[in-house]
């Protein structure tokens, strides 16, 4: 079976959790902006959590299904329709042959993913399905989806258990000031005590000049002890680099290394929130310990694991689970 691209959208690509094993040659990880959305989409359709997905940024695509297949759209707030009928985000659906899936608009830079209960016929590149547009690495020759592309899907999985309970609650609405938990960065000593206080006590605004490499943060200038040049070293998604002008929060398309000091790094459990930020959003950074970050990540893992079990339940256990819900 295949999926035909009727309209490609602004920036629609095949992605997975990222390409690792080549960072030391300067080949970036890329991968999905919102790792939580990828995980829940794949759990809904019964895939491994890091199965490749289609990622949509900003303006989504219009896709036509050649056959029946389970799918789920997860992540930020997009208007999604199937044959012009609105459908819910974070919920399992099954297409019929000829169905048209339309992912509408979202504020720029926010993302959603589409997972299918099937495999892409495309082959992984250097061990991954992640697409890095800048260096042209990934399936489809490292490019985004174009009009009239036909994406072939193979091994469709049928007969998922508990179709009717396969959904996740939508993301909570964005707070007026988005709180991001961070661990102190490896170059904290590059900043004065005043500089650190400035960073943690003030609200920063996401600049509209941001892109998928990084969110530029407008706000109070951060005082350094030793200037803004460090010896270039490796960086990670979620790291906050401080240039002489402003802090920049690194997103999935960031380079493998950088030469500005890292004041802090956003914890894994909050990266999904980072992926939903857009120009003019306000954020504030809160410092936590590595232990607290580990705890937050474990809680998220346990929540997803419990959902997975619930979805997979069959027979009497499933019957009890359903009826417990009804009695309430």
């Amino acid at each position: 079976m295949y999926i035909t691209v009727k309209q490609p959208g602004a920036r629609t690509t095949i992605q997975d959790k990222g390409r690792y094993g080549h960072l030391g040659q300067g080949i970036p990880a890329s991968g999905v902006m919102d790792p939580l959305a990828m995980r829940i989409a794949n759990i809904l359709v019964g895939n491994e959590e890091d199965h490749p997905v289609i990622e949509c940024i900003g303006i989504g695509p219009v896709l036509e299904f050649s056959d029946a297949v389970y799918f789920a759209v997860c992540g930020g707030t997009f208007n999604v329709t199937l044959n012009n009928e609105p459908i819910r985000i974070n919920t399992l659906y099954r297409s019929q042959a000829g169905d048209i899936l339309k992912i509408g608009c979202s504020a720029s830079y926010t993302s959603c993913v589409i997972a299918f209960a099937a495999d892409f016929a495309e082959k992984p590149v250097y061990g991954s399905y992640a697409t890095d547009l800048k260096s042209g690495i990934g399936p489809l020759g490292g490019r985004k989806l174009l009009i009239n592309d036909r994406l072939e899907l193979v091994n469709p999985r049928r007969n998922l258990a508990n179709e009717e309970i396969r959904y996740f609650p939508p993301y909570a609405p964005k707070e007026e000031t988005v709180k991001l938990r961070v661990i102190e960065g490896p170059n904290e000593e590059a900043f004065t005590e005043d500089g650190l206080q400035t960073f943690y006590r003030n609200v920063y605004t996401v600049s509209p000049r941001s892109d998928k490499m990084g969110l530029r943060m407008d706000g109070r200038k951060i005082e350094t002890r030793t200037g803004n040049d460090i010896l270039s070293a490796g960086i990670v998604t979620g790291a906050v680099q401080v240039t002489p002008k402003q802090p920049i929060l690194m997103l999935k398309d960031h380079a493998t290394t950088g030469g500005y000091p890292l004041i802090a790094v956003v914890i894994g459990a909050d990266l999904s929130r980072v992926s939903q930020l857009k120009g003019n959003d306000k954020v504030r950074f809160f410092k936590v310990t590595p232990e607290a970050a580990y705890q937050a990540r474990q809680e998220m893992d346990e929540y997803l694991e419990a959902k997975k079990k619930e979805f997979a339940r069959t027979g009497l256990a499933a019957w009890f689970a359903r009826n417990r819900g009804v009695k309430k």
Binding site: Y20, G21, P186, T243, A255, G268, P290
Partner: protein, 233 residues
């Protein structure tokens, strides 16, 4: 005595920092640590990014907590050092100086109190070891930049610098293998492709190579460009 410190870099990576200077001895320490971790084949290590004076270790937080991995690395580091040996390749990179941002070459000259000709003479005079690869696919970070040419990065990075740009940032010099934003001062342009996405081995240079820059004319630039930006090594 320990020559490094380990710090968290988020909850899925840690940073091993050595003495923060560009120095062949420090480079050797980074390489030894990299090899020790590679050779231990720890499940849960996702990737390593060695740099001038640090090693970033990306790990799976479902396998390790920061403290657990830190302790493991400290134990590994205690193990006897193994010699690292690799023969260096010597590679000439042709450069058309003064393109495409002549104001940058002027800035570096003014900052150093030198003429433009002297800047080019000094920049082509040294041989530069490749200390690390990073920032972009196939981007070499080179050491041994003459101190007279050290120039702080631009206050605000440019949003686009063309592929082949040869630049200086702080105490570092290097070549942009593809078009990218960046904060370095651009001295010139090379027609040689340092990164080729289609190739089996898309990256031209490797850590350990020795690089020399050679000043070329616009005519030679065009010839090499028309020949596909290939280099005979």
């Amino acid at each position: 005595m320990r020559k490094y410190v380990i710090k968290p870099c988020g909850d899925a990576a840690l940073m091993i920092q050595f003495e923060q200077k560009i120095d062949p001895v420090v480079l050797q320490e980074v390489r030894q640590m990299t090899e020790k971790i590679q050779n231990a084949h720890l499940k849960g290590i996702i990737d390593l990014i060695p740099s001038y004076a640090a090693l970033l270790v990306k790990f799976d937080p479902a396998v390790f907590s920061y403290e657990m991995l830190k302790q493991k690395i400290e134990v590994l580091a205690e193990k006897a050092d193994r010699k690292t040996a690799s023969a260096s390749r010597h590679i000439d990179i042709p450069v058309l100086y003064g393109k495409p941002f002549p104001e940058d070459l002027e800035h570096v000259a003014r900052h150093a109190g030198l003429s433009i000709e002297e800047v080019i003479r000094i920049h082509t005079g040294n041989e530069y070891p490749v200390y690390m690869m990073g920032f972009l696919p196939g981007f070499p970070y080179l050491g041994n930049l003459d101190e007279r040419l050290h120039t702080p990065r631009r206050k605000e990075p440019r949003t686009s610098i063309p592929a082949g740009s040869v630049g200086i940032g702080g105490a570092q010099t290097g070549v942009y293998p593809l078009s990218s934003p960046g904060g370095w001062h651009i001295l010139g342009l090379t027609p040689v492709k340092l990164y080729d996405a289609g190739a089996d081995d898309p990256v031209l240079l490797h850590s350990g190579d020795m690089i020399r820059f050679r000043s070329i004319s616009e005519e030679e630039f065009r010839e090499i460009e028309e020949a596909g930006g290939k280099l005979c090594i």
